[in-house]
């Protein structure tokens, strides 16, 4: 067990490699009860969220979810989150565990008339069921078909069930009142999912090049540098960080978050390993792991834009020795179809 934002959480149950394979081949379940849940309701809620987050909330349909970002005035990332639209004037925000207090304080400080904000993080447990067999588990649990589309939000009793995830596999995330979370966990195991820990969650998301806030995202890096421009609507009237993003877009981004894959036999890559190009130290890895699916070291790193094209050769330093790696197109892992 490790401490994760004040939560005691398992890195692994049966082993990271086995859990990773389970999610790629059948179905695994992750306890994500540490994630934060905020409710935002009121006649002004959509406009308010649009003034604070990068993605377009007004364009989001009821019953749908979208990935979005909360930025500082310099357009650096405070947090990344999922916005659920529950109704015309009702939203649920799912935020990173380590950022719950900071995010809540930041949002409360900007409250306007016509918007109510509630931090309900302590009231909800959450499970992520992920993998090609997740649809069958959904059917056993809820006696209906799992929506085929991604980012669908269902209200089932007091629970929220959303076809989202952090693994690149099909599946869903299930939020329920905290008091019934442990029985929900047992029901998911009975339905055939294998328990998976933080370790596999990290290798699965890294193969997909999904960023992790605090590692790959930071208040010093913008979503354009992180390759998340798709989730930023610069056509909106205004939002915190927009001016800085417009300026950065005009000037050109200085660096890009690149996917790296080791091209020779090397030790596993870890975060904060130095990255060299042409004999010069240029940056460090922000995430790194041995990819269980690829059998090779993979990493993310912010590279100066002139070195950020796929095919660029780099070297990653491990304990004083440098190993060859190459910039690859994202994602690093492609599902065989």
């Amino acid at each position: 067990m490790v401490d994760f934002a004040g939560w005691e959480m398992p890195v692994q149950y049966s082993g990271i490699l086995a859990e990773h394979r389970t999610v790629r081949e059948s179905a695994g379940v992750f306890d994500i009860s540490h994630m934060g849940e905020f409710f935002v309701v009121g006649s002004g809620s959509a406009a308010w969220l649009d003034s604070l987050l990068t993605n377009n909330v007004t364009a989001l349909a009821s019953g749908a979810a979208q990935y979005s970002l909360m930025l500082n005035e310099r357009a650096g990332v405070i947090d990344d989150l999922i916005v659920y639209r529950l109704g015309a004037q009702s939203f649920l925000l799912v935020v990173n565990a380590s950022m719950i207090e900071e995010d809540a304080a930041w949002l409360r400080a900007r409250l306007v008339a016509g918007v109510e904000f509630e931090n309900a993080s302590a009231d909800y447990g959450a499970l992520a069921i992920q993998g090609p067999s997740a649809g069958g588990i959904f059917k056993k649990l809820f006696d209906r078909e799992m929506p085929a589309e991604r980012n669908r939000v269902l209200r089932i009793g007091e629970d929220f069930v959303v076809t989202t995830g952090y693994t690149g596999e099909s599946g869903f995330e299930w939020l329920m009142p905290a008091g019934v979370a442990s029985s929900a966990w047992r029901r998911v195991l009975d339905a055939g999912a294998k328990p998976c820990g933080l370790g596999a969650r990290d290798t699965l998301r890294l193969e997909m090049c999904y960023p992790l806030n605090g590692s790959d995202l930071s208040p010093e890096r913008t979503p354009l540098e992180a390759g998340l421009g798709f989730f930023v609507d610069l056509g909106k009237p205004d939002f915190v960080g927009k001016a800085a993003l417009v300026a950065q877009k005009a000037a050109g981004v200085p660096a890009r978050l690149c996917a790296l894959r080791v091209t020779e036999k090397a030790p596993p890559i870890r975060p904060h390993y130095p990255v060299w190009i042409g004999g010069n130290l240029v940056t460090e890895t922000t995430s790194g792991a041995l990819s269980p699916s690829l059998g090779e070291g993979i990493a993310l790193a912010y590279l100066p834009v002139e070195f950020s094209k796929p095919g660029q050769e780099v070297e990653i330093e491990v304990r004083g020795r440098r190993f060859r790696a190459c910039v690859r197109k994202k994602p690093l892992y492609h599902k065989e179809t």
Binding site: I16, A18, H20, D202, T203, K265, P267, P268
Partner: protein, 126 residues
């Protein structure tokens, strides 16, 4: 948990088998179970001089890199080359084909500071 009686153990979960002036060093069954899924091992180079407690090798699981400390002082005289191709030997046969290096002891008296199997068993609560 397997804790062979013919070995001596360091508190940091290495074992050593001494034959004459030569010791063979590896990690214990308990250590490999804690690490799980070992995917990389870097034994020390032949000729390297180690003091007891020095970092002798690195083994890495998917999640983390772990230092392996030399239980005794001496000079490395062999390294297990098989671990490069098959680091999982550390998981499957930690007291046998998963050995890491052999060392010529420069101070055999250091063996007295290591634990016997009963003391190590007590340490890990097995």
């Amino acid at each position: 948990m397997n804790v062979p009686e013919n070995l001596r153990y360091a508190e940091s979960h290495e074992w050593i088998l001494v034959e004459g002036d030569t010791g063979t060093v590896g990690i214990t069954d308990h250590a490999q179970a804690e690490l799980t899924d070992i995917v990389f091992a870097e034994p020390p180079p032949i000729g390297k001089k180690l003091a007891a407690g020095d970092v002798a090798a690195v083994v890495e699981s998917v999640k983390a890199a772990s230092d392996i400390y030399s239980p005794v002082s001496g000079e490395v005289i062999a390294r297990n080359e098989a671990l490069e191709a098959d680091p999982a030997l550390l998981n499957t046969d930690p007291f046998g084909s998963g050995w890491i290096y052999k060392i010529r002891l420069s101070n055999p008296g250091e063996m007295d500071a290591l634990k016997d199997s009963a003391a190590y068993t007590a340490q890990i609560g097995a």
